[in-house]
Each structure stands twice: as C-alpha cells, then as structure tokens.
C-alpha cells in the first residue's frame, strides 16, 4: 500500500542517493570548470574512497562502535585524496595543459580513461573483486510515523555540511576566490597574479576528496564497493552535471538531487530494473528542452 509515510521515506532515501551523486558531480564539475578536464576516472576515486573507508571500518571494528570509524576515516580520506588528486594533476594532467584545445581534450580522454582502467585492474588484483559492504549497526529513528535509519541522517548531514563548507570556501578563502577568477576569465586571472598551476592542483585535490567522501557515504548507506563500479558512476556523475548545466556548482547539487530522488521513486513505485533508465530519460528530456542544462552559466 502506498501511504504518505512510505513516500516520505522514499524521498529521504532519494535525497541521500542524490547527495552521493551531487558530491561526486561537484568534484567533477569544479575540475571541469577550472581546468577544463573531463575526468573519466572520477568514479574510480569514489570507489577508492569507499574502499579506504571499508578498511578503516573493518580494521578498527573491534575497537570502535557505531559511526566512529566513519569519523576516523574522514580526515584520512581528506589527506589521502588531497594528495592523490594533486599527484594525479601534476603527473598526468599538467604535462598536457599547454596543448591546443582540441589536442588537450583528446589527451584528457585518453589519459583519464587509461587511468580508470589501471585503477580498476590494480584494485581488482590487490583487493579482490568481491563486493565489500559494511553494516553500521545503528538503529532507526522514528519521527511521527516516518522511520529513518540513522546512517541516512548522518549521510544527509555530511552532504549538507560539505556543500555549505564548499560554498564558504569558494566565497571566502583565497584559493576559492582564485578558482572563481579562473572560471570567469583565465587570462585576466593570470595577469592578476593567480598561480593557475597551483590552483589547478588544489582543485583536482579537492575534487578527488569530494568524490572519495561520496564513496564513504555510498559505503555507509549499504551500497557495496566493487572495483568495477567506477565507470558507471563516472557516467552517472557526467549525467548529473549535464542535467544541471556543465560546470555549475548549483547545477551539480540540483541535478544530483533530482536524479537521486527520481531514481529512488522509480525503483520503489515502478520497478528496480528501470531505475537507472530514469536518469537517462531525464537527461535527454532536459537537454531537449534546455540544450545547456538546467542552470545556465
């Protein structure tokens, strides 16, 4: 039976899924906006982040209870993926920046898809291909008639706090201002003394971190981590940023939440088989109505 309670619970589930998509897409969007790279290995960052959180959780499982391992893995993920993303940028993307736009684009596609294959295969050989999932063991909370699992609330909290943090970071910090300057006018930013190389590296680090946190939330919500989830998630994140309007931060959040909620509702009310299809149908429908996505630049 379809009750209001059931619908509300589903929308909350959808918001969490949308939050995961939004976080992944946010990273992809800022990398695309500032550096101009379509990072096809982005979903693999999510997978690695989730895997790291999984190991923290299983290794510290005897010592800590509940959500504590997640809190521990947070700074770990921050440090690891800021470094990883920066290294990725310095090693693989920076050597290509000086090229002509067309060649830069081709180079990026080759390098990032190559990196994605590499990451996937190395992970599969080192960590195995078994799906890795955790159970947080937290009871649900009941508000009125609506029952929400605690980890859903924690996940929503993480997504909200991070988006807010990112907003403040963009508006108030020096690096954030420089990022916005580059997206508005690259040459003017260079002339005003913005170190584009450094900012690009920071952006890649922050983008990778967002994706990895999405992996943590993904894992915490009971989705299993597998080496092969990377590319489908990259495609999903691409869908999200195109629905929202390529590279717009607000668009990435909006697009993520629309697609997450739509997928969950389709899954619950029509069939689980068709829930991935709704994202693509939405993508094509929105692009036909507005060929540059929901939030225009």
């Amino acid at each position: 039976m379809v009750t209001i309670t059931y619908i509300i619970e589903n929308i909350i589930d959808g918001l969490v899924l949308g939050g995961i998509y939004a976080l992944t897409a946010l990273g992809l969007a800022i990398i695309y906006r500032v550096i101009g790279v379509v990072n096809l290995a982005h979903g693999d960052f999510l997978m690695l982040g989730g895997l790291l959180a999984y190991y923290v959780f299983t290794l510290s499982g005897g010592v800590f209870q509940g959500a504590t391992p997640l809190l521990i893995s947070f700074p770990l993920i921050f440090a690891a993926f800021l470094a990883f993303g920066s290294a990725f940028n310095i090693g693989l993307v920076k050597p290509m920046v000086k090229r002509k736009p067309n060649e830069f684009l081709i180079g990026c596609v080759l390098v990032t898809i190559g990196a994605s294959f590499l990451i996937e295969d190395i992970t599969a050989n080192l960590a195995g291909t078994l799906p890795r999932g955790i159970y947080l063991g937290l009871g649900p909370i009941t508000i009125g008639e609506v029952t929400i699992p605690q980890f859903r609330l924690i996940s929503l909290g993480i997504v909200c706090v991070l988006s807010l943090f990112f907003h403040i970071f963009l508006k108030r910090s020096f690096v954030g201002t420089a990022m916005r300057a580059i997206t508005q006018d690259r040459e003017a930013a260079v002339m005003m003394g913005v170190n584009v190389d450094f900012i690009s590296t920071m952006v890649f680090g922050v983008g990778a971190f967002f994706s990895a946190v999405a992996g943590l939330v993904y894992l915490a919500n009971g989705f299993p981590i597998q080496p092969y989830i990377g590319i489908p998630l990259t495609v999903k994140a691409l869908t999200v940023i195109v629905v929202g309007g390529a590279g717009s931060i607000l668009g990435a959040l909006l697009g993520g939440i629309i697609i997450g909620v739509a997928e969950t509702l389709t899954g619950s009310f029509i069939s689980f088989y068709w829930s991935p299809a709704i994202a693509i149908i939405l993508l094509i429908a929105i692009l036909l109505l507005k060929p540059t996505g929901l939030v225009a630049e």
Binding site: I106, G107, I113, A115, L118, V242, L283, I284
Partner: protein
C-alpha cells in the same frame, strides 16, 4: 600518372595478400584477423563523426549492437520465406540500412546538442538502449539478458573463413567510403563544421544536411560491422555489444591511431586487436591494466595518435634532407 599507377599497384598487392591470407594462416589467426576487420570498421565508422566532424559520439556502440541484433531478428522473421542463404543475404543487406535510418532518426534530437553535451547524451543513450534490450518486457524479441542467436539453419553456414571474407569486404568498403569522404565536398563540409560550426553555417554550408548524412553513413557502416560480428559469432548478448566497455572501444581505437585520417583508426584497431588478443590468452587478469597503460602513454606522449607522430617524424626527416 606514373605515381598514381604505382599507388594502384600497391593497393592491388595489399588486396591480393588480404584475399590469399586465409590460405596461409591457422584458424586462430583467421579468428584474430576477422576481429581486427570488425574492430577497424567500427573505428573507421566512428571517425566519420568523431574525427571528420568533431562530434564525440560515445554511443557509437549502439549502431554496432543494433546491427548485430537487426541481422539476427530479421533472419529469424524472414526464415519462412526463402532458402536460408538468400534470407541471410537479404537481412544482412537490410540490417545496415535500417541502422543507418535509425542513426538518421536519432540525429533529430541529438544534433540539437553540441560538444560536451552531445558526448554525455550519447553515452547515456547507449546505457538506455542496453537497459531496453536486456529488459524482460522485450525479451520475446531480443532474448533479454541471455542474448540472441542466429537461426540454426543459417548459422550452419557460418565458419571462420567466410566470416573472414565477409568482414574483409565490409572493412574494404568502409575504407573506400571514408577515403572518398575525405576528398569530397562532404568531407570539406564536415571539416568546416569541426573547425567552427557557426562560421560554416553563416558561410552557407547546409550544416544540418551534412551532419545527418554523416551520422547516416557512420551508423550504416557500424551496423554492417555489427552484422558481420553476428554472422561470425552466431550469438551475442547485450553485455557484449551495449556495455560501457564497448562504448569506449571505437573512440579509444580511433584516438590511439589518430583521428581525422583513414589510416589512423586502422592502425589503432591493429594495435588494439593484437594487444587485446595477446593479453586475453596470456594474462587475462591484467588486460585492462595494460590497455590502460597504453592509452595513458599515448595520451601523454602523442595527442595526435600514432599516425600523427609518424607524420611529424617523416616531415622532420624530409626537412633535414
């Protein structure tokens, strides 16, 4: 005059070698060669849109898969009418044109988009087609997850040698069409679209017409590649033709060799086929690792692909002497 006749002689020589090759090779080698022809056709047909016109069609695999499915479905449906071989020939010929028509049809919504949006929308499209084809609702037609087979009375006739010749023919026709396109008015129009679509349109190039023609040809050739794959393998399932791995296959081959030329996609397909077959038989666990490393190195070292680098080197050498 003399030069063109020497060129002709060279082509005739290559053609003779390709035709005689099945006599000199083992069955395994013929298998690999057939795969190479199919992949090369796929890469060439991708390059009409991706290389000539500058539209990155990440859903190109849709045409390939539909070609395979169309061939199997048509021959199943028409089987009651005629002798199996006639049916096979008719449905083979028809399948390519149906896929071409399909490409022309989807151009109406998709060509409203450009650049990055076009790439992502087509990538989404291949996932959607994958879901539709493997769905339970359509399994009466497509066989769902388990896939589709050629009718037994037709697949009896399929063997490695005739698959080799079929794939070779499709490959040669594609090469011919592509080299004709490059030196034609259509090729010029496509290049002008790649360089600056708005400028081309305002200079009087009927961009819409040329774009539709290009996607029709691209879909047609990919459809035939899929149909020859179906004849060769006699069975396929959505995972083999509509998965995301296949979606990135044509573009990686074309970029590997070098886009915008006839030779580039072919070279890309040669390398991909050899590396892939070697890995798959020797170290299956590291297939993606090695392919990933190859792509990475090409991306970092040679953005114009292997053919681009070779051209650069030969030009430098010519300057020196």
């Amino acid at each position: 005059m003399k030069r063109s006749s020497a060129k002709l002689l060279r082509y005739a020589l290559i053609l003779t070698i390709l035709i005689l090759l099945p006599l000199l090779t083992t069955e395994y080698q013929r298998n690999v060669l057939t795969f190479f022809f199919i992949y090369a056709t796929l890469a060439l047909s991708y390059d009409i849109l991706g290389g000539q016109m500058g539209y990155m069609n990440l859903g190109h695999g849709v045409f390939y898969g539909l070609g395979a499915y169309m061939f199997a479905i048509l021959s199943e449906e028409l089987l009651v009418l005629e002798h199996p071989l006639t049916v096979a020939a008719l449905s083979f010929l028809a399948s390519g044109f149906i896929v071409g028509g399909f490409g022309w049809l989807i151009s109406f919504p998709f060509f409203r988009l450009r650049g990055f949006y076009f790439a992502v929308a087509t990538l989404g499209f291949i996932s959607l087609v994958n879901l539709v084809v493997s769905s339970a609702e359509l399994s009466w037609l497509t066989g769902g997850f388990t896939g589709i087979s050629m009718p037994l009375s037709i697949s009896l006739f399929s063997n490695v040698t005739n698959s080799y010749y079929l794939a070779l023919t499709v490959f040669l026709v594609s090469t011919l069409i592509l080299s004709k396109i490059i030196n034609s008015k259509l090729g010029l129009a496509l290049t002008s679209i790649r360089e600056d679509e708005d400028a081309a349109e305002s200079s009087g190039v009927d961009t819409t017409r040329y774009k539709r023609l290009a996607i029709f040809l691209s879909a047609l050739l990919a459809g035939y590649a899929g149909a020859s794959y179906m004849w060769f393998q006699t069975h396929t399932n959505p995972r083999f033709v509509f998965s995301l791995d296949i979606a990135f296959l044509p573009i990686t081959m074309a970029l590997l060799g070098g886009t915008g030329t006839v030779l580039g996609p072919i070279v890309g397909a040669v390398i991909f086929t050899i590396v892939y077959q070697m890995l798959l038989t020797n170290i299956p666990a590291f297939t993606k690792l090695v392919i990933g490393s190859v792509l990475l190195c090409i991306g970092l070292a040679a953005p114009q692909g292997i053919v681009g680098v070779a051209k650069k080197i030969s030009r430098k050498r010519a300057l020196k002497t």
